[in-house]
Symmetry: C2
Subunit: 196 residues, 2 copies
DNA sequence: TTAACATACATACAGAATGTATGTAAAGTG
DNA sequence: CACTTTACATACATTCTGTATGTATGTTAA
């Protein structure tokens, strides 16, 4: 079983990301020691620093993988309808529910902005998981579904609202109930922007 | 000029909080070294650990002071109207604009949840700066101003939206312009919850 | 008023964690 | 087949938090 350098690299990085993702989400970034990560991944500090350069670099890789997973689910869910308004609502709810299910909220929403800085975090968020939201809103405004309003402002308001919703739901004892409450509230919230 | 223990304590703590607030907001929590903080405050590590117990303890004290400042401004602003609906809008805008002005967003919104944990951060936020939002919404619902909706859910949605708005505005080149856009958007957003 | 005590620090040190410099074996390349 | 690059391992330097201990000064009660 000979391995090419490329395969080896891919495999080592993947393993490190997996292990790090687990530890970052359970202990938080600050309390996860590189020493433990490499030990559990079966390599040494050398491998980690060779591929990721720093602890922050590793975190960024982990964050990207989490964002991508959620982004894919949102996209798939939104595509289930033809009506733009319905697509928007479906996408929002898909984001909230899939982010809640995923036990990586800490990486995605809590440590993310703090560790890599808000600007970088925002850029990554937009590229991976929030891209469609902005596009969807832009399209809807062009087609006259929305009242006149700054799309950038609206995008951030919605994004912030949903992120906080995810964290809140995760803290409540009855996820299903609070998810329903959030769904209702988001639907009403969006109603405010519907062109009359 | 003899100083009582109580005075001395008060003075040292205040000075440490001031210095720490400066460094936390400029360099971020992780990159602010206790050594530098105590040096700049003119005391030693002993004093810091005596009063605050840990770096996290110091941060929590700093966060509380920032939250209190903003909370006071929000309260004052909201009290300028008699109409509940107007009060709500005034309070929201006061929060956003005063948090934007304040150059401690990093402490308040970015490092806060990460350093002391989201649950603790939320509790502090509710006690200091977001308390009135929830109360205001509750009152308004009782008086029939709002559609039937979970107040908890709504509170978190609004809070999250505004926090994100603050960060976004801070990043834009023209604060005044983006603040206006956010104001419009928030007003529309709230409109969705108005009882018909 | 003075002995006993508590408080507010200072100092030195221990422990842990990140990052870096250097070495090495294997794969890739001309 | 020489030689270069890559993917690591290992040892070490640095830095930072937290703790243990010492001390001077203010406070309190007999």
């Amino acid at each position: 079983m000979k391995m090419s350098k490329a395969e080896q690299k891919q495999q080592t990085m993947q393993k490190l990301i997996e292990v790090a993702r687990e530890m970052f989400s359970k202990q938080g970034y600050a309390d996860a020691a590189m020493e433990d990560i490499v030990k559990q991944a079966g390599v040494t500090r050398g491998a980690l620093y060779h591929h990721f350069g720093s602890k922050e670099g590793l975190f960024q890789a982990v964050l990207a993988s989490v964002q991508k997973e959620i982004g894919d689910r949102v996209e798939a869910e939104a595509a289930k309808s033809e009506d733009p308004w319905q697509q928007l609502i479906l996408g929002c709810l898909a984001f909230v529910s899939s982010a809640v299910e995923h036990h990586n909220k800490r990486i995605l929403l809590i440590d993310g902005p703090s560790v890599i800085g808000w600007e970088t975090w925002r850029r990554m968020d937009e590229e991976n998981s929030m891209r469609h939201l902005r596009e969807q809103l832009l399209t809807m405004q062009e087609q006259g579904y929305l009242r006149p309003v700054s799309i950038d402002a609206l995008t951030h308001l919605l994004s912030g609202a949903m992120n906080e919703a995810v964290l809140w739901i995760s803290e409540t004892p009855d996820h299903e109930k609070s998810l329903k409450e959030i769904s209702t509230a988001i639907t009403l919230l969006l109603e405010g922007f519907r062109a009359k």
